[in-house]
Amino acid sequence: MLLGPSLAVSAILFSIGVMGVLLRRNAIVILMCIELMLNAVNLTFVALSQQLGLDGQVFVFFVMTVAAAEAAVGLAIIIALYRHRDTVNLQRINLLRG
């Protein structure tokens, strides 16, 4: 019953996350937008698990694990970058741009 609305909410949240990644220059906010996208995918998994079986809820666990690992490593990279460049603004971190 709630499947269609849930998938619509998930699509909207995912698009907001993509928009945030394209719109912001602060590396921490971009990581948070990625978390938002992962959550939208989780909502899709849970909504479809009502119809297609409980394996979807098991997958949400794996997605959460990957999200936690990604947040830890990403924030460590941001700390290392801040130590070298004194900024988290991605416009001023352009060593690889050539």
């Binding site: 699509a11 995912f14 993509v18 690992a69 830890a72 490593v73």
Partner: protein, 170 residues
């Protein structure tokens, strides 16, 4: 129930929009926490009670605390000048998001084949019969036990990687 769903969904979407538009990273993080709480409420409405509890504990409780910790550690809380891109960046982001949204909303109309679908109410009755934890734990520790163990290797790699990257010198 559908009214409650739309209230919660509206709060989630509004918080997500505020999350990507606030200048201060702390405000962004707190709005994102609000979004995660609303998503937990949606999970409860979808009969995924255990996932909802894990969502609050792991996402809102652990991952977002890590984000806030790093923001405070780097002393970025005051915000400073806006980091949102200029007009062209906004147009590109808006168009990209709208195209993606359209695609996802069209994909929503695809129905899975009948042979895969469970009869309606199966999950709710399974939760009522066997408990909210058991319905998730049984597939996790029987069918998916090898991926579950590989997950522990992933977490170990993430721990080692985070320590190596963030430490000044080993």
């Amino acid at each position: 129930m559908i009214v409650f769903f739309w209230i919660v969904a509206g709060l989630a979407i509004g918080s997500a929009v505020l999350c990507i538009t606030r200048r201060s990273p702390v405000a962004s993080a707190l709005w994102l926490v609000n979004t995660l709480f609303q998503l937990a409420a949606i999970y409860v409405l979808l009969d995924a009670h255990f996932i909802a509890a894990v969502q609050v504990l792991v996402y809102a409780g652990a991952i977002m605390v890590l984000f806030l910790f790093v923001i405070m550690l780097l002393n970025l809380g005051r915000g400073g000048p806006s980091d949102i891109k200029g007009p062209w960046g906004r147009v590109i982001a808006g168009v990209g998001a709208l195209v993606l949204l359209g695609e996802l909303l069209v994909l929503r109309n695809v129905t899975p084949p009948w042979s895969l679908q469970l009869p309606p109410g199966t999950v709710a009755s399974a939760v009522a019969e066997r408990g909210a934890v058991r319905v998730v734990a049984e597939p996790l520790f029987q069918g998916y036990v090898v991926p579950f163990e590989i997950t522990s290797v992933l977490l170990l790699a993430a721990i080692v990687g985070a320590v190596v990257l963030a430490k000044r010198r080993l």
